[in-house]
């Protein structure tokens, strides 16, 4: 079952191409990490899914609907947490914000909202325009999780959080995201979300270079520490103790996927990575490329 199905989607701001022929599918119950260099269109992609931007070409279907129609039933099943929170930094508290916005979400859970505020130590009654950026963000994350929507989109949610709050953020996501929710988190700070996000989507202006689970990635790629760089290494970087190398996994066994090295290796070998990871996906999804 797919929650989001995108086919050959393109988007332009004026004459500037942002997304080109993007195809991907998202399933319920997963916490996707959306990675990409600055400016490849991560935010635009989230906005298209949320119905805030209209694709220039191609299609995007969410719960079987066109998000841009923004039907009330569609909007009650989706929550988009933008990176910039000026819209929320107003002359009222996060509790008041929840009181007026919660009713739009039929599964809104006030107990969950209060529990997360408590864990994040957010002052629920203080006016948002008097809270720090980090505290506002935590309040907004609490609200987003408490909506219990089917599709939760978060743009750079760890931005502006201090180090203890980043750790807490990972724990809170795992604890409070509902079982069947599809969560899509965009980030360019992969270390903040290491071990949390799986599958990993790597986006480029022209394509989805990868949409794969960590299990699949560790089957196809090997990440290891070597004293010298093996000739077959796709990517290597000096680290204390030698070189962290990424290689195609021909019987090298299982290793821990290092997201930064994965991302850098993918940026250097876009074509090969697409062959490794998207070729299969294209086969299995081939029938859907026909008009429906």
């Amino acid at each position: 079952m797919n929650m989001v199905k995108m086919q050959l989607l393109s988007f332009r701001y004026g004459k500037k191409d942002v997304l080109n022929d993007i195809s991907m599918r998202l399933e319920p119950g997963k916490i996707y990490g959306l990675l990409g260099e600055n400016g490849v269109g991560k935010t635009t992609l989230l906005k298209v899914i949320a119905g805030l931007q209209k694709p220039w070409n191609g299609s995007c279907s969410v719960f079987g609907e066109n998000p841009f129609n923004r039907t009330p039933s569609f909007l009650s099943r989706i929550y988009y947490l933008p990176e910039e929170l000026e819209y929320i930094q107003n002359d009222y508290s996060i509790r008041f914000f929840a009181k007026i916005n919660g009713p739009f979400y039929p599964n809104f859970d006030n107990e969950k909202f209060e529990a997360i505020l408590k864990e994040f130590a957010v002052e629920g009654d203080k006016k948002l325009n008097s809270l720090s950026h980090g505290q506002t963000k935590k309040g907004a994350i609490a609200f987003a999780l408490a909506t219990n929507v089917d599709l939760l989109l978060m743009d750079e949610p760890s931005n502006g959080l201090d180090i203890p709050s980043k750790t807490l953020f990972r724990r809170i996501i795992v604890e409070y995201v509902s079982d069947n929710t599809c969560t899509l988190i965009s980030t360019h700070q992969v270390r903040d979300l290491e071990n949390l996000i799986d599958p990993i989507i790597i986006l480029d202006n022209k394509a989805v270079l990868m949409n794969a689970s960590l299990e699949e990635i560790s089957e196809k790629l090997y990440f290891g520490l070597h004293s010298t760089i093996p000739t077959q290494a796709l990517y290597s970087e000096p680290v204390p103790g030698g070189y962290l190398c990424v290689m195609e996994n021909d019987d090298l066994g299982e290793s821990k996927v290092n997201l930064e090295a994965l991302f850098n290796a993918t940026m250097q070998h876009k074509k090969r990575m697409q062959e490794l990871f998207v070729a299969n996906a294209a086969e299995t999804s081939a029938p859907s490329l026909r008009p429906e």
């Binding site: 750790t167 724990r171 799986d198 689970s213 299982e254 290793s255 821990k256 996927v257």
Partner: protein, 124 residues
């Protein structure tokens, strides 16, 4: 004592190892419930799918079992199974590496054996 920590191991195996350690040091007693997948994931800040892989792996080794609707439990003979798994891993993976090193460093076998029996005496 962390018997099996390797930061380059996949996370699901690192989690399995830490569960095995807790079984060996009685933090998780045999036939008692261990944290649920979500509890464990939330404790560690790790994706529940990763924790599920750890639990599936330990289930396949009969180190833990799952009572439907109740949760996951350490097996009645979990400790014995963990030890035999670690022993196998030591013999098949770790020892050959040590032997390679002994050869490379040209360590005298008599000297080595004397050292090993001395260490064994101290530890017992």
């Amino acid at each position: 004592m962390m018997m099996n920590f390797d930061e380059h191991k996949p996370i699901y195996l690192q989690i399995s190892d830490s569960i095995c350690e807790k079984i060996l040091n009685d933090e998780y007693a045999e036939d008692e419930r261990i944290p649920s997948i979500r509890e464990m994931g939330a404790q560690l800040g790790v994706n529940p799918n990763t924790v599920m892989r750890s639990y599936d792996y330990l289930k396949s080794l009969d180190i833990i079992y799952d009572k439907r609707g109740v949760g996951f439990f350490a097996s009645p003979d979990a400790k014995k199974r963990v030890k035999s798994m670690y022993k196998k891993e030591f013999m098949e993976t770790e020892l050959p590496v040590i032997v390679k090193k002994i050869n490379m460093l040209e360590i005298d076998v008599d000297e080595l054996m004397a050292k090993i029996s001395k260490e064994l005496d101290i530890n017992n």
